[in-house]
Assembly symmetry: C2
Homo-oligomer: 424 residues x 2
């Protein structure tokens, strides 16, 4: 991507107010644009980060045998009345059609759509288990949207629903999803995710698990053990908890971001929507359901909260919008600059190429420092620059990855210099 | 994809009512599920068709230098009041937050979001031209949603917005988009798309062009010339039109589906949102804007309206969810069947493999006939079957493509038979 053709730039506006690090960094470096509190436009590099995260999620869920579908956001009110959640869920946006006085809910979750769908496909035990997921938009009428993309009124989410012939089969799948989630988070650079026991919340009367990452920007308070994997949402902690119930060590309390959750829905939705199957003895039985969410736009915020330094964002390589950020520090574009850009791309390296002619070298270097692209080239001749000593964001990457990429990039630069000298 | 793991099946329900061919075929063969009138869930194969169309659209728009972004669907009412469309557009869904009495519009179009965004990035003539697009969901409060996915209340759309320093530059880009659109439609199997003159409609006072395909399921009436490319929406036809104003030949009238439209917005939105640029003499000027839409879910419906036969859908190869539909016609899955499936996939051929053990051969053959996958294998031994003479959907494909694919598939089958005989 040539920056002369893109609209990325550092937003200098001093009047902007931010209430989290990720909020400020994502807005100032042009990943998102704030339309209103809790409502954002994702600009080109931000969308690239989202696409990389979604690709990783799809790979892990497809491996679980789940099928991707796309459900609507306009839900007839009758379905939410049938589930009993029309009155009980307080974050629902409700709206009316001008015609025939029809009421709708804007989807905050999709059990009301997926359960009736499942009744068309699940008839016998042979149709089970079944797992369906989608990646789409969710709406929540939040009293106070805050912290940028960490708590929005409109946000991207992956939601998955599974269907089983017994509690035991649901339990097994629930465990498999738990492991797949931790694998997803590791792949996008979140190594220390706490699997936190929580209440069922709005959406279930049974227990649930939240996946949380510790950071001061978080909105939930968790109690966790530093020695083992024990973690509980503060709301469900029994009052007398002075030491870890699993290992006896001492417990700590901290703020955390909830990036995902999984619910054992039991047979509550199945009963409301008459979702049953015939077992091998010919008897009709209710289907057991699980529900599994990942907040994708919130995940971007969480990654930025954990991966930043004095200079700005420091993306993990797996979700970085570009591999290399090139900058031409001369006033005019040069054939050599274009050659480096094209050659890196031909080698399969995605490049953000700052070829703008009207922008000062200082502003270009600021942009490299703050936008978090993993690699910026070494100084090559007098024309290319970003002093190695200043590239502090590199310290957050494994040395091996850095060395390999650095070696490949350096080799290409050297070959190009010789080629260029030779050609002219 | 193994059908034993998928939920595709032919929906036999006799009570369903359909008001277009595409509506019936897409529902009956499991591409979409109807949640309510005008509201659909896209099931796995339907989503694959959408993804293939979107990939083609992205390739052609990226080639135009347009940047992909993702704008929200919740729009603060104040922005629609500022543009003057809060009262003038009658298809808007309006809703309220429970908090602070805030009003929102569900996005039916995105000028109200993209124009304020552009004011942050366009300052001087050097920032122009600029083109931004997104692929996302649109909402329209339709009096009567009908014809399945052809007219929905919630639908996927690609919308693009361009910004220019003069009417001439806008005109040039408008022409380039027109050509890119025709290229997109050719690539997805719509060769005879009429570029139809139309009024500006709800969204513009200036003229516009609609891209239409003739079919009885269409909702617009167009007047067109059979000799040249002249076409007009019936609404703008001057009453005395007896012959083609371009070539003098006779004109015809027909029903058509509007699959896309392009608008010259002039400076109307720029003026309402104070979107100006400084020209090379330092003078402030309003920015010229164009707006370009493609109805993606409607496009799927249009493709089915034009590509079907007695047996069902006959997908153009470029958008078919799978290249080959394999069926095991024996009662049990066999190692040979699995071998064919895996080998075709390893050759880069996407396969829908009907390995269900509980389904009769007749139902499997019905499914192959109706779901429109371009290629089904020849009868191989006694185990694989779908009589060549019955594969009438193939007649809709260029002979060369068919022959090439057929040859490759046949070669693989023959190699596998010999390999299998040899191995056991």
């Amino acid at each position: 991507m040539r920056l002369s053709k893109d609209i990325i730039k550092v937003i200098q506006d001093k009047d902007l107010e931010f209430d989290s690090i990720s909020h400020e960094l994502l807005v100032r470096t042009g990943y998102v644009d704030q339309v209103a509190s809790g409502i954002y436009t994702w600009l080109t590099p931000g969308l690239r980060v989202i696409e990389k995260i979604e690709k990783i999620i799809r790979e892990e869920l497809d491996a679980l045998g789940s099928l991707e579908i796309a459900m609507p956001s306009l839900h007839p009110a009758s379905l939410w009345q049938q589930s009993g959640r029309w009155d009980s869920v307080d974050v629902l946006y409700k709206l009316k059609s001008r015609y025939g006085d029809k009421d709708y809910v804007l989807g905050a979750s999709h059990e009301e759509i997926v359960t009736p769908l499942a009744t068309k496909y699940i008839k016998s035990y042979r149709d089970l288990p079944l797992s369906l997921y989608q990646i789409g938009t969710k709406y929540r009428d939040e009293a106070r949207a805050k912290s940028g993309v960490l708590r929005g009124m409109e946000f991207r989410m992956k939601d998955m629903y599974s269907f089983h012939d017994s509690q035991e089969d649901l339990d097994r799948y629930y465990q498999k999803v738990k492991e797949a989630y931790l694998q997803i988070f590791r792949r996008i650079g979140l190594d220390d995710v706490k699997v936190t026991e929580a209440s069922g919340g709005d959406f279930s009367k049974k227990h649930s698990h939240e996946f949380t990452v510790l950071t001061p920007a978080g909105e939930v308070e968790i109690v966790y053990c530093e020695s083992c994997s024990f973690a509980q949402n503060h709301e469900v902690v029994s009052k007398a908890l002075e030491s870890c119930p699993d290992c006896g060590d001492s417990v700590k309390t901290g703020k955390a971001i909830e990036i995902a959750n999984i619910f054992d829905l039991g047979t509550s939705f199945s009963k409301n929507f008459e979702l049953t199957y015939t077992n091998d003895k010919g008897t009709n039985k209710p289907v057991y359901m699980g529900c599994y969410g990942i907040g994708i736009t919130r995940l971007v915020g969480a990654v930025v909260e954990l991966h930043n330094d004095d200079e700005g964002i420091a993306w993990p390589e797996s979700v970085a919008p570009y591999h290399v950020h090139l900058a031409n520090l001369t006033a005019k574009t040069t054939p050599f600059g274009d050659l480096v850009y094209r050659t890196l791309q031909a080698e399969g390296i995605t490049v953000l190429y700052d070829d703008r002619e009207q922008v000062s070298p200082g502003e270009k270097i600021d942009s490299i420092r703050s936008d978090g692209t993993p690699a910026a080239p070494d100084r090559v001749g007098a024309q290319w620059g970003y002093d190695r000593a200043q590239r502090t964001q590199w310290r957050t990457y494994p040395q091996a990855t850095l060395a390999r990429r650095s070696y490949k990039a350096k080799r290409i630069f050297l070959e190009l210099i010789w080629g260029f000298v030779y050609l002219r």
